[in-house]
Amino acid sequence: MLVGKASPEDYNLHPAQYPWARELYDQAIANTWYPHEIPLKEDLEDFENMTEEERHAVKFIMAFFNPAELIVNRSLALGVYPYLKSAECHLYLVKQMWEEANHCVAFEYVLETFPFDRETIYNVHMETPSMKAKEDFINKYMIRMTETNLDIETPEGKKDFIRNLVATNVVMEGVWFYSGFMVMLSFRQRNKLRNFASMINWVLRDESLHLKFGINLILSVLEENQELLTEDFAKEIRDIIIEGVDREVAYNKDLFPKGILGLNADYVNQYVQHIADRRLEELGLEPHYNVTNPAKWMSTATDVYELVNFFEQQNTNYEVNANASGE
């Protein structure tokens, strides 16, 4: 069983019960990168030449991501890790948590390098109602795992586990982060902030793996605990995701009060809805919004292999573990 109270045999990595988690761990190790590999000087020049509204968007999104990575970590450490029995899942989770920390530090590296009023930016998430509402949403489910936690062996306890995982992994990482990446990568399509975009390539590569783990975990827990498969619970999960999308509307309005070239609040909302439908279907729920993906250019940004001119750009495709034994 994936979820439950820990027992001594849960410390055995072999025989592996959930090899998919081990595979994700190995891939995550290969994906290791560091923020200092990204030079930002050219991006600083781009930033100087951006419009006020564009700069606001960059700052706003950084203000959200920097603490958000740590919120994810808190949720994983307190709401997921303690209730998982699988040793290979534990392996993966610690690497994921290192990655969240690395992302947080990476955003901090950008924050500290760019000409920002850092005090202000670090406080935005506490002072902006639309951003605070998103954090509150995540915290609501996390608190149930940490402060008023139910017995994990009971169906209600397991439901809380899933609710928290859906909020953190599916809504926060799988929907909100994805829309943030789209916004950040859009600058590169206009030949701005290209190095920062290389960093986002890496963050997105990591997050795609986080999502693979999270979705697989939710589906596997549901599979092992058929009693959770009720209409009411399905509707509740669906509503959590829809509420997550609803909270994004006010946030996107604050992100783009007037809009910039190529992006405005409605455009981002539609992207959020499109991605949310994808997540609903991945959980086995029906799509809710049925809208098209407005960001066709994402095919160039993320969907195909990237051939990097390594004299000009950090190659973000490399993986650090070679099969040195080979024999």
């Binding site: 795609s208 029906e286 160039t300």
Partner: protein
């Protein structure tokens, strides 16, 4: 939303949709189904606007709207290209109000004189630019050749090569650009105007393209036209300091650098001035790594340099780690590249599973100068000294272990690149002045250097694609292009202004040029072959033999007209040798280990006649080198160098932007068979690999492979066939799917055995990429799990309330509906995306 547009003069006016639509209509003229394209671009443009948008951003919005549809129909790229061209015409020619092509052509010619005169007056152009019949040149300008470009070509040209105005915006049209370069290489011709038109015609038809530095600087007041510099850093503090200064100056004048550090004494080696010891090469290299980062070559591009070290250096283990992403940043190079300069002795020791010895260069000062049998002999003597305790220090490792370590580093950090010093030196026709200690930044140059000579190479590349008629090579046109290219490069040397006296001297005395070739994979596809076929290998042989013959012949002609290069006497050329003869030398010296066919595949070329002519004199120490062409390949709109098609669709992340590259050869074939619209989404879904797509017939799959599905041995074979005829080397990019180190060791050993001189960057196939955005993704389906869907199928019907579709601004655009996978598990079994 009310949208006002901010004009250049600061005034605002309400957004005029009709005006934009009209310009989009013009850009879509003649395309298939233009009305739907215009609607699509116009609708998406409006979505991208905001109140206060500038006119410049408005142009950008229309272009980006066209571009984002290229994945569905590559014809949108034509519209984007036309829209981009219009912005540059307006900027250079002033706001014109004509939709008439003939009128625009007239304006474009008329403005040319003013463009030249103004730039000379501003001190931007060389004063010699006035010594032409400008009316005749204006008359030769052919604006219709702008239609030969792809979007990425124009964009790269404008961004990288075009002269800029004070706002850093392109200040010349593409045709002015070609004419500027042509003029800038014709000053010393008897009839400069006539020759400039000849160069212009070849370049503007994209038959060959000059190297990057020439494109940037030809015709300007500071003509630094060389791309490649190769310098040795000697083991004394003054020379190290001077080298750092040289590197900064060379970087500033847009050159890429190869720098050998083999001679620097190892860490712990005693200093003679006092009883302290040296810190070894790494800290000095770090200074250089930081220095090149400070320089912005020609605007936005960082300095670029590749270090070379021989693998017998005591600090070679540290060297291999230079590019690791973890570890002490002070011991890591973030910008500079690394290459290893390996001997036959080492490869043989790997093969025979013997030990490999590493020394402090201070104790083995002559080793770096030796190659071939002389190196092996001296190396053996040093081993004996070491084993008998007569060396201060040495290290011993199994040769295979070090080879493995090199390849592990290569797999994980793409460095060091593998290059073979004995193949380079034993095949050189030009090393009568000294040993070749390194290759260059892109591993295609083989020139000797020493303390007084910084080697320089001057580049241009022939675009093979522009020489294909139907399914045939137009040999006559190819010959003309090669001859023109050689003349262009030889002219360059007398105009070139180099920042360092040691480089200027070497350039003048050797007149080294490197004519390359691009479009190889593109042409192979057009001829209907796959990259890894016997036909492709034989074609490589033929085409390079032909180009080499013509290039050598033209240099011999120029020697008769203008005299031989200063160091011709004593060179292998002066003994009547041509590149294939040097391969015979290598075969003899190395023994039976070279696995390559020495026969000519191009009947009708009489090499004996050429040998006799060469013996009379050569104008240039070297003739051919196949550069990577990462930028000029884009300008020419073809595959760069001898590179394979990276994938059928992929993106290029470049300084001038991120472009989607779709293989239009494949698209044309698919459209012809009525398959394109059925498979285009799957081509993106499978990241440019058509192998898994059931609808595509096998004969197309055989031709259109990706760089990762092509056998890596094909890259070796193509390079070895070309290398037979190329007197310098080729930037052989490598692409691997396998991560098995033993297999990789074998691939690289094969390269050495087949006489390949150098390899270049290694691209590993990523095992994991980001979740796709524009493609339907469902991890549950691919995991075969049901999640909450189990609930619905158990209940027999969908019980979740059906979704209310939210009206979407983009939804009404057109039939751009994303493919949606069926929800029912039984239906999913029928769905390709869910299998």
């Amino acid at each position: 939303m009310n949208i006002n547009v901010t004009h250049r003069n600061g005034e605002t006016a309400p957004f005029d949709a009709d005006r934009i639509n009209r310009s989009i209509e013009l850009a879509c003229r003649g395309l298939t189904d233009p009305i739907s394209k215009v609607t699509q671009i116009a609708t998406e443009t409006q979505l991208a606007l905001y109140d206060g948008v500038t006119t410049e951003e408005l142009d950008e919005a229309t272009i980006n709207s066209a571009l984002q549809n290229v994945k569905d129909d590559p014809e949108y790229e034509i519209a984007a290209t036309r829209l981009l061209l219009k912005t540059v015409y307006k900027r250079v020619l002033g706001d014109y109000e004509t939709e008439n092509e003939a009128e625009l052509t007239r304006l474009h010619k008329e403005h040319f004189k003013k463009y030249v005169a103004q730039n000379i007056a501003d001190g931007l152009f060389d004063e010699r630019m006035a010594n032409f019949d400008l009316d005749a040149l204006a008359d030769a300008l052919d604006l219709s050749r702008d239609h030969l470009f792809k979007y990425s070509g124009i964009s790269t040209l404008l961004n990288r090569y075009a002269t800029k105005d004070t706002q850093q915006k392109p200040a010349e049209t593409p045709q002015y650009f070609f004419m500027r370069v042509a003029m800038g290489l014709s000053y010393n011709e008897k009839n400069p105007t006539e020759q400039a038109i000849k160069f212009y015609d070849k370049m503007s038809r994209l038959e060959y393209i000059a190297g990057g530095s020439t494109n940037i600087s030809a015709g300007t007041a500071r003509p630094a036209l060389s791309n490649c510099f190769l310098l040795e850093i000697h083991d004394d503090i003054d020379h190290i300091a001077q080298s750092i200064s040289d590197i900064i100056k060379i970087s500033k004048s847009t050159g890429g650098i190869g720098a050998s550090i083999t001679k620097l004494r190892a860490s712990g080696s005693p200093l003679s001035s006092n009883n302290t010891t040296s810190s070894g090469p790494t800290p000095f290299a770090k200074i250089i790594d930081t220095a090149i980062r400070a320089i912005q070559r020609g605007g936005k591009k960082k300095g670029a340099l590749c270090f070379y070290m021989e693998n017998w250096h005591l600090d070679f283990d540290d060297y291999v780690d230079w590019r690791h992403n973890a570890g002490d940043d002070y011991l890591r190079m973030r910008t500079a590249n690394t290459a290893v300069w390996m001997s036959d002795e080492f490869m043989n020791r790997v093969h025979n599973d013997q030990d490999w010895y590493m020394f402090d260069p201070k104790e083995v000062p002559d080793l770096n100068e030796l190659y071939g049998p002389a190196f092996s002999k001296r190396y053996q003597e040093y081993i004996e000294l070491a084993e008998s305790g007569k060396m201060r220090t040495f290290k011993k490792v199994p040769a295979r272990e070090q080879y493995r370590k090199i390849l592990v580093a290569l797999q994980t950090t793409s460095h060091p690149w593998l290059t073979w010093k004995d193949t380079v030196n034993m095949r050189a026709l030009n090393n009568n002045t000294g040993t070749i200690h390194m290759s260059n930044l892109c591993t295609e140059i083989c020139l000797p250097q020493d303390k007084d000579n910084i080697a320089v190479c001057n580049l241009a590349s022939v675009n093979l694609t522009a020489h294909i008629k139907g399914k045939e090579v137009d040999w006559q046109r190819l010959e003309e292009t090669v001859r023109t290219g050689v003349r262009h490069l030889d002219n360059l040397i007398d105009i070139n202004e180099l920042p360092i006296p040691q480089a200027a001297k070497s350039d003048r005395e050797n007149r080294a040029i490197g004519l390359g070739m691009m479009g190889f994979a593109d042409v192979i596809e057009k001829l209907g072959f796959s990259y890894d076929s016997q036909e492709a290998y034989d074609f490589t042989d033929r085409i390079f033999e032909f180009m080499s013959y013509m290039a050598i012949d033209e240099s011999a002609n120029l020697a008769q007209e203008r005299g031989s290069y200063a160091h011709f006497e004593g060179s292998a050329w002066s003994k009547g040798m041509v590149p294939i003869d040097s391969l015979k030398v290598l075969v003899e010296q190395r023994g039976d280990t070279i696995d390559v066919d020495l026969e000519s595949k191009h009947k009708g070329l009489n090499w004996d006649i050429l040998r006799r002519k060469v013996q009379q004199g050569m104008r240039n120490a070297t003739l051919m080198a196949v550069a990577p062409n990462a930028n000029i390949g884009l300008v020419a709109g073809t595959t760069p160098g001898i590179d394979p098609r990276f994938a059928q669709v992929f993106s290029r992340n470049k300084i001038s932007g991120k472009y989607l590259d779709i293989n239009t050869n494949l698209v044309d074939d698919l459209k012809e068979r009525g398959l394109w619209e059925k498979v285009r989404n799957q081509i993106i879904q499978f990241q440019g690999d058509i192998e898994p797509i059931a609808e595509i017939p096998q004969d197309l799959k055989d031709v259109y492979k990706t760089s990762f599905s092509t056998s890596p041995y094909a890259y070796i074979e193509v390079a070895s066939r070309a290398q037979k005829w190329v007197d310098q080397a080729l930037s052989r990019n490598m692409y691997l799917e396998t991560r098995d180190i033993n297999e990789i060791m074998n691939i690289y050993s094969t390269a050495w055995k087949k006489g390949v001189k150098t390899t270049y960057y290694l691209h590993m196939k990523p095992r994991h990429t980001a979740e796709q955005s524009t493609i339907s993704v469902n991890k549950r389906a691919s995991l075969g799990k049901s999640g909450f869907a189990g609930l619905r199928s158990a209940a027999g019907a969908s019980s979740t309330p059906s979704a209310t579709p939210v009206p979407s601004p983009v939804g009404e655009q057109s039939a751009q509906k994303d493919f949606v996978c069926p929800v029912d598990p039984q239906e999913r079994l029928q769905c390709d995306s869910c299998q």
